[in-house]
């Protein structure tokens, strides 16, 4: 590779042409031929315009072949290097579904799968918030209690103060955000370990909820209108119209295809590696298969519940925030190295406080989902194993407990596993004791996979 070591001639006679007026979208061949560095002035001048494009790539390593074959070899290499991603959870899900189906043939019936999809949304909301916290390498033990408190607060607002339900909903979520921010403040500004702060919150907010519900015990909420109706089990997207589910599936596939091909086009125009068309078609094809099969199954039952639609929408939005915005980048940076993030000018305490606030906010939203499920606020809301299930979901789905690695889709995959186990054991009439033991075992398994894959990533130099 002689061209990689081509010495850079003194380029003082060739001033940097990078201009701030050049727009990234116009990254055309012509601009490239001039050696322009768009968007930003760099001190080191762009490479000699007459030279062949210099490869930055080490000839020994990881050259990804073009096309589909390259995709496969890259995939194999990643698995060997311990980057298991979502493979264990998908395999686990298949195993779990097979076992339960063999035990009880109603398990894979449309009605049961529809139940799973509805009931997983509530805990799934808590898991979304937890993904943020786990990305920082921290933990939030208060989400269960905060969700219980949220449902109680909402019930008190609506029944005792006669407040408008939508206003109550907003107030409840704002309270959740405030509670999370308070935890974050103690952690980021005072330096109390997050584990301890949120453990205090776990007890304290549960106490506040019990106190709020003290006299009445359980507050029932009218379930025919407002957010409680929307989140209830009998509320469906587009009022159960058959087309509703397919509209959603089609939307997902179109968005994914447009996004993927758009990125491919921009990358090709800019002259950087891009995904092969065959790879994109495979990805979009798999997504389409999953989406339309799910839609068909749910239509076979009674349609797509609005709770599930809101959960999926939240996943898409949060995924976008984490991967495509500077805020998301800051969260990953703080999770990967606090000192490096600080020196890059990132306000670490602010990121920490906002992450805990987000976790509190999603906990409150999850609490509203619980209230929708039971059409009321009860003393047991958000208690029991709610917290453990939410943490288990995020970790089982592939978000690392060690910080810096994960995706919000782990909340969906993890919840599918958790809710399948719960529903399956209910179908088999197993009691709570067995459910706890099995869920505990699954959580332990997920953490073991996380730790082992971290080790082999270290060994493969990708920790």
């Amino acid at each position: 590779m002689s061209d990689t070591s081509k010495p850079v001639q003194s380029e003082s006679s060739e001033p940097v042409k990078g201009t701030k007026t050049e727009k990234a979208a116009t990254a055309t061949e012509a601009a490239r031929a001039e050696g322009v560095v768009e968007g930003q002035e760099t001190v080191a001048p762009a490479d000699d315009p007459t030279a062949a494009p210099v490869t930055v790539v080490d000839p020994r390593l990881l050259i990804r072949e073009e096309g589909f074959k390259g995709y496969l070899t890259e995939f194999k290499r990643k698995v060997k290097g311990g980057e298991l991603g979502q493979i264990p959870v998908v395999l686990g899900l298949i195993v779990i579904w097979t076992i339960f189906q063999l035990q009880n043939d109603r398990f894979l019936s449309a009605d049961n799968l529809s139940n799973i999809s509805y009931f997983m949304s509530a805990t799934g909301m808590l898991a979304i918030g937890l993904v943020f916290v786990l990305l920082l390498g921290e933990i939030d033990l208060s989400v269960g209690s905060v969700s219980g408190l949220a449902s109680a607060l909402f019930a008190v607002f609506v029944t005792e103060h006669g407040m408008n339900p939508w206003l109550s909903l907003v107030l409840t979520i704002v309270t959740g955000i405030g509670i999370g921010a308070l935890h974050g403040w103690f952690f980021a500004k005072i330096g109390v370990p997050a584990f301890v702060v949120t453990l205090a919150g776990f007890l304290g907010w549960n106490g506040l909820m019990l106190w709020l519900l003290g006299s009445s015990g359980t507050i029932n909420l009218p379930s025919d209108s407002g957010p409680i109706h929307l989140l209830g089990q009998s509320s469906f997207f587009m009022d159960q119209a058959i087309i509703g589910a397919y509209v959603l599936a089609g939307l997902a596939v179109v968005l994914s295809a447009v996004g993927n091909f758009g990125e491919q086009r921009r990358r090709r125009a800019a002259g950087v590696p891009f995904r092969a068309t065959s790879e994109i078609l495979l990805r979009v094809g798999l997504l389409a298969l999953a989406a339309f099969v799910s839609a068909a199954v749910l239509n076979n039952a009674s349609g797509v519940s609005n709770a599930l639609v809101i959960f999926l929408a939240a996943l898409v939005i949060v995924d976008f925030v984490l991967r495509r915005t500077t805020y998301g980048r800051k969260v990953f940076a703080v999770g990967g190295g606090i000192e490096a993030a600080r020196r890059a000018g990132i306000n670490v305490p602010l990121v920490r406080i906002t992450v805990f606030a987000i976790s509190g906010g999603f906990a409150a939203v999850g609490g509203m989902f619980f209230a929708g499920q039971t059409a009321g606020a009860s003393l047991s809301a958000g208690g029991g194993n709610t917290l453990m299930l939410a943490i288990a979901a995020a970790v089982i789905g592939g978000t690392s407990l060690f910080g810096g690695r994960g995706t919000v889709w782990s909340a969906l995959l993890g919840m599918l596993v958790i809710q399948s186990i719960q529903t399956g054991l209910d179908l088999l009439n197993m009691n709570t004791s067995i459910q706890y033991m099995i869920t505990g075992g699954v959580l332990l398994g997920a953490v073991v996979i996380d730790s082992v894959s971290r080790k082999s990533q270290k060994a493969a130099g990708r920790g």
């Binding site: 990254a27 768009e38 001048p45 930055v56 590696p273 306000n347």
Partner: protein
């Protein structure tokens, strides 16, 4: 060719910094002009990295004044220094292991395209920038954790060149580099000077210092121990100032010899 402006772009006046029981810096003075390369030398533990970190806002100063283009400024966080136009390559690099090369290069100042991180342009610029430093990196999309020490060092240097700095601080940038890459970094320092930037270069390698620096500032036990124009200062004088060992036999003989030669 050095054309030194009248007002230094960056000046430290009587800067002191204390870590618990350690007085790391005492009354340190330093001036950097636009288009000047100042080499900062001194023994291990002399306080060079601490000085760099006070300028970069990692450790705020206890006493003294930092002047920017003649005006006193307060630098209490890295953000302040970046805002002024100070770009720093730290001795301990400070990269995020979980982010890829592009992510690290642009950390804290991502390019946006309609409000969304513009990965494509960032990746393109990153490739071009790295190729000018003639560094081979397996891929700009692999996490920093899987790079060698020298590759990380080059990423850290490249990081300082993104944006539009006025002063670039390099804390032992060539310590982990091979022959070719060291030459590239020294070339780069010269290009920075040609572009009228101020450069602070920390190095233990006197050959490198003599090759590119205009001025050598010596730190010894956290205090100034002389500042010399490189052209008319001998290797031995610098070593003597660094070690403070004028009673050292070798340097004393050397000193005598230069004194005789002067007569």
């Amino acid at each position: 060719m050095v054309h030194v402006s009248a007002t230094p772009v960056l000046a430290l006046r009587g800067v002191s910094k204390r870590f618990g029981a350690v007085q790391a810096l005492t009354d340190v003075e330093l001036e950097v002009h636009a288009g000047e390369v100042v080499a900062l030398v001194g023994d291990n533990g002399a306080g060079k990295s601490t000085l760099v970190k006070t300028i970069a806002g990692v450790h705020p100063i206890d006493e003294g004044v930092i002047e920017w283009e003649g005006k006193p400024v307060s630098i209490t966080r890295p953000h302040d220094a970046q805002g002024l136009g100070v770009a720093t390559v730290y001795q301990d690099l400070a990269l995020c292991d979980n982010l890829d090369v592009v992510g690290n290069l642009y950390l804290g100042r991502e390019l946006l395209h309609r409000g969304v991180i513009d990965e494509v342009t960032m990746e393109k610029n990153a490739r071009e920038l790295l190729s000018t430093l003639s560094i081979r990196i397996p891929s700009v999309r692999i996490p920093i954790a899987s790079l060698s020490g020298g590759q990380r060092q080059v990423v850290a240097i490249a990081r300082a060149l993104i944006g539009d700095p006025k002063v670039v601080i390099l804390d032992e940038p060539t310590a982990a580099l091979g022959v070719e890459q060291t030459a590239q970094v020294l070339d780069l320092v010269e290009r920075l000077r040609e572009r009228d930037l101020g450069v602070i270069l920390i190095s233990h390698n006197m050959a490198d210092v003599k090759a590119v620096a205009d001025t050598v500032a010596v730190l010894r036990l956290g205090k100034n121990n002389g500042s010399f124009p490189v052209k008319d200062t001998s290797h031995e004088d610098i070593i003597a100032a660094i070690t403070g060992a004028t009673d050292n036999a070798v340097t004393r003989r050397a000193g005598r010899r230069t004194a005789e030669a002067a007569k």
